[in-house]
Symmetry: C2
């Protein structure tokens, strides 16, 4: 490393404190909010629903594959019914754990079992920050948010565009955004399953950035794509074709019913769990028919609407309960589990903070392996907020430190130190303290622990104001990850050519 | 009820939404952050410490009682050593669960096992609010905070003065504050063990307010007093005399070591757990010697200092881990468990919110039975913040709702409703929804779930600004709980006489 790089690295570290990037594991037992009998009840009613009612698949190819595998397909509608034995047989091949390979191998992730990954906010149409206000998403703010995902060690990567670049025309948006996603971060990659041509472009952009052959690309998981069920009980053609293409190439599909209890699923959490479990199983069966062992995530996003206004609400106690219960369901099947850390507040305020805390604690307690929207989600997903990215990063760092178990052994206890200090003494000067104090405790990025007088003298900035300073500092200090020059040229050549060709019309 | 009262009740309810007052229980299994072997290791090292090193008791009476019970008392110092068999024998009589009787029996509490009680902030020297700023505690703001503790259904009571009324001279402060505590709330009562005369006055004030005889008062738990260990390893004379007097009269002592890891206990959490467990056991043994079966709470308040500045930090990941581990220790012994929900932030901001969320989630996961400082703690306990009382009440309400288990049964699932709505439909008009929608979901007190445009039009108030409006509205709507006129007169007569007598000089 050149002296200049080393010195920049040090300066940056000394100014904004961060935990190092690492794979996180929750070492504690997952919380159980429903009994194992109740899990079996939900499982059985979900299978009943798939067997005697079924789920609609709007893509002909999907119905063909399902029929060939033994599902009952109604020729006059899109309805597919699944005999329970078929479901139970097909889901056996889902991998419990897989490695998700980043173009920088130090940023590769483990997905499944007790591994925890925190992902960036995705897909909002607006950004919000204290300097520019609430504005339409753009390529510029998209790139800034991608840079923050790279700069924040606690962020394991983007999952979808951190904001929708509305200033880029739809036919070429996936090309411009896709190029930005692989250029400004070397963390794990993602795509959208919004049409076969679009997904093929994204696969190709990622393959080029990785510097691998098509065969190598299809040999192991490199990227993750959301393939949501369109609740209640239907899979549309685009997302389903994405699911099929991902499975063919060994890339990861997240099969997430998105249910708002009372609107797209029953007003009860019990009914919501039954419906969304049935929906997820239907999509997972399809993935395993396409390719047994295709990596998937069991996704859940079960919140509720405010029954007075019909408005969706996130970060609610109901969301926390279903998030943990869905973790129990995922573990019943041995599926890796995707959840989210959403909030409803329209401001980077206390409400946003306690709502995300509610969501994120539930994700941790439910052992969600892949936590979307951890950083910056605001307004129920309509705005990606720069200040909230930092607030949420502080919360996630705290939870990462919470997941470091207390080390209990004789040396650590300091039995002799306790006796040596004795009644009324203090431990500041104890050798037991001096050997350990520098790394003993979590040191925050955003929190200010000074006393009132010192805080007042420093300008009495609240945490939101400090968050504004931190994201701007992170962007100012941002260093673009290395990308081989030949790869960069190939990437630009591909993207520029596809843009000249007009990109992909809607639905292709 | 007169028409006027009924109408006021309705209006008040319709304006500020609250969950009803109720006893809360955590129905989920407690989280385990250390193994049962590690719990035994901590237990054994704690007993070793009490046996071969001991703990100082500065009160002659305490040493006399301990010596008579078989402890080894050093005549030349305050040191008391406890043979492990003595500790294990004496702690057997601690009640696992007790009822704490309020003067309004509807506000009585269950303490122990899986019961959860949320208590008001206590003992801060300052108050903070957006209108008056950060000012010295006074009888006026004390009364306002007591009124908020009464008005907030999610608050189970005060535990200590919600702010120190600094404008009242010390010798009569406990009399004025004690009168305010029993007058403006009919929830559970508390006192301070700051000298024998003071505690006797508080016992008497509470006895009068309860309208019971001295014998009745001493027959069951009515009030709770903190009897902290002065860490490391010493019990001062005042708090220990309080512990003795409470045990004699069947009133509850909370035996809380207050340790900041790195300052008053080892810099490791393992060492902190060993020391504070030894300290708590020493005080608990004394309580059971005074009266076998005396109600106590095993208290823990183990946070850490910022090792760079020496400043205490609260709401840290370390605090969360020790809070849950101490719950495991408390359950190992079958002790009711007291913890706290502190934060460090100097402002009613996002930092205060995520810090209290960290603390309070840990209390819930660790099954803390008696959670002090749930509402309004700021600046590491130096200020009681009115806006934060409301922010924290919203968080506590959310957690109370989280602790209502998902009801899973055939009727709730709405299997037929799912089939009737079918693919692509919605559940808004489903009979299954219409029967349940009014009570299906949590309705918040502070959170604003409106969309951005509606929120903007309503003034774009953030949650802290709304919290400011809510506490003022709660005070404006406050209704003083009924107190029998004869009792009120007896109470005033007692307090006024004791004030004329000069109250209690320091230390008496």
């Amino acid at each position: 490393m050149s002296r200049r790089v080393a010195s920049r690295g040090r300066r940056s570290l000394s100014e904004i404190k961060q935990l190092p990037f690492r794979n996180l594991r929750n070492p504690y037992p997952p919380l159980q909010v429903i009994s194992s009998d109740e899990i079996e009840f939900i499982h059985n009613r979900s299978l009943d629903l798939l067997e005697d009612f079924g789920c609609n698949f709007h893509l002909d190819e999907a119905r063909g594959l399902l029929k060939a595998a033994g599902a009952e397909v109604d020729l006059n509608s899109s309805r597919v019914r699944f005999e329970r034995g078929l479901v139970e047989e097909k889901i056996k091949t889902v991998p419990r754990l897989f490695k998700l390979n980043a173009r920088n191998s130090e940023h590769s992730l483990l997905v499944g079992e007790d591994n925890i990954n925190f992902l960036m906010v995705a897909s909002a149409p607006y950004t919000s920050d204290f300097d520019r206000g609430r504005i339409n998403g753009s390529l510029e703010t998209l790139i800034e948010l991608i840079k923050l995902s790279q700069a924040l060690n606690i962020c394991h990567g983007c999952q979808g565009y951190p904001v929708e670049p509305i200033d880029v025309p739809v036919p070429i948006r996936h090309l411009e955004a896709g190029r930005a996603m692989v250029k400004y971060t070397d963390k794990v990659m993602s795509g959208y399953g919004l049409g076969r041509q679009r997904l093929a472009d994204i696969h190709e952009i990622n393959r080029i950035a990785l510097g691998v052959t098509e065969e190598e690309f299809a040999s192991k998981p490199y990227m993750v794509t959301m393939c949501n069920c369109n609740s209640p009980l239907q899979y549309d053609a685009h997302l389903t074709s994405g699911l099929i293409e991902n499975a063919k190439r060994n890339q990861v599909s997240v099969i997430s019913p998105f249910t708002l209890s009372g609107a797209m699923s029953p007003v009860t959490l019990a009914g919501t769990l039954v419906q969304q479990n049935a929906e997820a199983l239907a999509g997972i069966v399809l993935s395993q028919i396409v390719r047994p062992g295709a990596p998937i995530l069991y996704g859940a996003f079960a919140s509720n609407v405010d029954m007075k206004s019909g408005a969706p609400a996130f970060g609610t106690p109901e969301y926390a309960k279903t998030t943990i219960a869905c973790g129990q369901l995922a573990r019943r099947y041995g599926f890796p589990y995707r959840s989210s850390a959403p909030s409803t507040s329209c401001a980077a305020d206390v409400q946003g903070s306690y709502e995300t805390a509610m969501s994120l604690w539930a994700c941790i307690l439910g052992h969600a392996n892949f936590i979307k929207h951890t950083f910056g989600w605001q307004e129920g997903g309509l705005a990606s907020c720069f200040e909230k990215v930092i607030m949420d990063a502080e919360l996630a760092q705290g939870l990462a430190q919470f997941m470091v178990p207390i080390e209990i052994n004789e040396a650590n206890v300091g039995y002799e130190a306790i006796k040596a200090v004795g009644p009324g003494g203090h431990f500041f000067g104890s050798p037991h303290t001096l050997e350990r104090y520098q790394t003993a405790f979590y040191s925050p990025m955003l929190s200010d622990w000074r006393n009132y007088e010192a805080w007042l003298e420093a300008g009495a900035k609240d945490a939101s104001a400090r968050a504004n300073e931190i994201w701007k500092k992170l962007l100012a200090d941002y260093e673009e990850p290395a990308l081989d020059r030949a790869i960069a040229e190939e990437l630009d050549a591909y993207v520029d050519r596809r843009i000249r060709e007009g990109g992909a019309p809607y639905g292709e």
